[in-house]
């Protein structure tokens, strides 16, 4: 009974827990509750992923209303991989959040923080499990609205303006998606994605569908921060609380990426998206611009959090580059990088959160000689940095290997050179942090700085450990990503 309803539980557990969390006025109780819930969510995600891995795509009718009239939850391999990433990151950051949040957020807001966190988790998981285009919009807005609040809880007043900017852009993006869904409904009379895919080919050669495609693409591109629609991202990540930066960087843009994949491959179909509408060429151009421009900006950035935020824009470019090839190899590379980047950026932002806890600042100038006082934190940062650059034996290497192979297989050798050049740029900006922390003499004020508490270091090192594990034995993640790509592209071929 319980097992049959896993897809619904995946979303309902955090959704129902969020208002209950609000009732617990005590910050410690709220934290314990949110930790318990996120662990349960992870358990459900693991069970679901196992079932998808063993039995194939799960289709679940909400309230037993038959599809396509009712809302369908549909989890294929791509979805299973995504819920695993979101739920795992969501659970890993919870032990970390207790100390970090107590330090960065006023006591009276802590309960609200955990409530919004659970809502955000609900939205992100909902985006992935749903098979209904309008339901997707609703979940997108649940996750977005709660993430605006999470960002605005940052410790400086600039967090407020960053949240406002994100609210304006995010709402425009979501409304664009809503317009696209409306136009699709106008032409087909259905909102179920599988049903849409079946009915669209008959009306595909109309202006309405082309406009719908354009609106959805632009809307989702804002949500996933594709260059040049990324301008909300650097401020949002820089001024948000450390835990939120880690959580958002590892999950929110990834969920956006998943929406893009769903619409391109499942709803509109490979043929329409890439052959008729030439989305591949446009995405490739934007991906190249994202990789180059954002990496260059990172190199000159002195605030390390902002440096990582711009680096995220570049990494989103890598994933989009993989997707833009529209081949199984390309989408596989995109999916692998999507997961690996969640691991890498999650770990880096968590390490940086430890620095912020002890130092109260994350600028290069203030980090001089930090490695002597916080060796474990900085070692975690360096290990994550190596993975970001793409050193062998790290997850980043696996991503780049598959991406470069996919690019070469498609015959775009200059793009392979570009990936290598931008890896060098990543080396430069990570090196600037290493230089400041390891090779510069510390200030007098640095003597008071202690190593971060174990409750924060262990989650960061856990993600680093997974990074190395993936780097050494990538077979599981590669096979899952390949199945995910097959599920996405295969669905388009039917």
């Amino acid at each position: 009974m319980l097992l049959a309803n896993l897809p619904a539980l995946q979303v309902v557990i955090p959704l129902v827990s969020a208002p209950l969390c609000l009732l617990l006025r005590n910050p410690r109780h709220a934290w314990a509750w949110a930790t318990l819930v996120s662990t349960m969510v992870l358990a459900v995600a693991v069970m679901l992923a196992q079932r998808v891995y063993a039995e194939g795509t799960i289709s679940y009718a909400i309230g037993a209303w038959a599809t396509p009239w009712g809302i369908e939850y549909r989890i294929d391999m791509a979805g299973a991989l995504m819920i695993l990433v979101i739920a795992a990151i969501g659970a890993v950051i919870m032990p970390y959040a207790r100390r970090s949040i107590r330090h960065e957020i006023a006591r009276k807001h802590i309960t609200l923080f955990y409530t919004c966190y659970l809502l955000c988790l609900t939205g992100l998981l909902g985006i992935v499990v749903t098979g209904d285009a309008f339901n997707l919009f609703v979940f997108l807005e649940i996750s977005s609205l709660s993430s605006y609040v999470l960002i605005s809880l940052g410790s400086t007043r600039r967090a407020l303006t960053a949240a406002f900017q994100y609210l304006v852009m995010g709402t425009i993006g979501a409304t664009f998606i809503l317009i696209g869904v409306g136009l699709l409904y106008m032409m087909t009379g259905t909102l179920n994605m599988t049903d849409l895919a079946e009915r669209l080919p008959a009306v595909t050669d109309t202006r309405t569908i082309r406009v719908a495609f354009a609106f959805v693409t632009v809307g989702v591109s804002i949500k996933l921060a594709l260059f040049p629609l990324h301008i909300w991202l650097p401020n949002a990540y820089t001024f948000a609380p450390s835990v939120v930066s880690a959580f958002m960087a590892a999950t929110a843009t990834k969920a956006g990426m998943y929406v893009l994949l769903r619409f391109f491959f499942t709803v509109f179909g490979n043929q329409f998206s890439f052959t008729a509408m030439h989305a591949g060429e446009i995405l490739m151009l934007l991906a190249v611009a994202a990789i180059l421009v954002a990496s260059l900006v990172s190199v000159f950035e002195n605030n390390v959090k902002r440096m990582l935020a711009y680096s995220s824009v570049a990494q989103i470019g890598y994933t989009i580059l993989g997707i833009s090839l529209a081949s199984t190899a390309g989408v596989t590379a995109g999916m692998i990088h999507l997961v690996n980047h969640a691991l890498i950026k999650g770990a880096l932002f968590l390490a940086l959160g430890c620095v912020f806890l002890r130092l109260g600042s994350v600028t290069l100038k203030d980090m001089h000689g930090l490695a002597r006082h916080m060796p474990w934190t900085m070692a975690a940062f360096v290990a994550g940095g190596l993975s970001l650059i793409g050193m062998p034996l790290t997850a980043g290497f696996i991503s780049k290997w598959y991406l470069v192979s996919a690019v070469l297989a498609a015959g775009y050798w200059p793009l392979a050179v570009l990936v290598l050049v931008s890896s060098l740029l990543a080396l430069i900006y990570i090196w600037r942090v290493v230089e400041a922390a390891y090779f510069n003499a510390p200030d007098a004020a640095m003597h008071k700085v202690k190593e971060a508490p174990a409750s924060m270091l262990i989650p960061a090192w856990l993600l680093i450990g997974v990074n190395f594990y993936v780097g050494i034995d990538a077979s599981l993640i590669v096979s899952m990503a390949q199945q995910a790509a097959d599920a996405l592209i295969g669905a388009a071929l039917q």
Binding site: R157, R158, L167, V168, I172, L178, I179, G182
Partner: protein
């Protein structure tokens, strides 16, 4: 000409949409931006609702002698979307209140100047 006027509902949608969008982009006042955003979203509601209307269609209640019904589903969808838009507007205004407390202004340009000085 009849084609232009026949689609008057779409013209209203487009005019509202662009009014809202322009306000969001061009106005430095944050409250006006929130208002613009709201108008922008409202235009989409009209798009949905007007597509549900079928000429000669009755309200979707089964009754004798009526065979053509308007589609009720877009109305239901838009009820949800209105709630979302309401939440967005409320949150946007709440943020503006906090921004005004922190910066002493709701003008984007002045906020930008203050941020540069930090």
């Amino acid at each position: 000409m009849s084609n232009l006027l026949g689609h008057y509902n779409y013209w209203i949608v487009i005019i509202l949409m662009m009014t809202g969008f322009y306000t969001v982009i061009a106005r430095p006042n944050l409250i006006k931006k929130v208002i613009g955003l709201f108008i922008f979203q409202t235009s989409v509601f009209i798009l949905f609702i007007s597509m549900a209307k079928i000429e000669g269609g009755s309200a979707p209640i089964i009754a004798e002698g009526i065979s053509v019904y308007s589609n009720p589903l877009p109305h239901v969808l838009i009820l949800t979307a209105i709630v979302v838009s309401l939440a967005t507007t409320a949150l946007g205004l709440a943020l503006v209140v906090r921004i005004r407390e922190a910066y002493g202004t709701t003008n984007e340009d002045e906020i930008h100047v203050q941020d540069e000085q930090d």
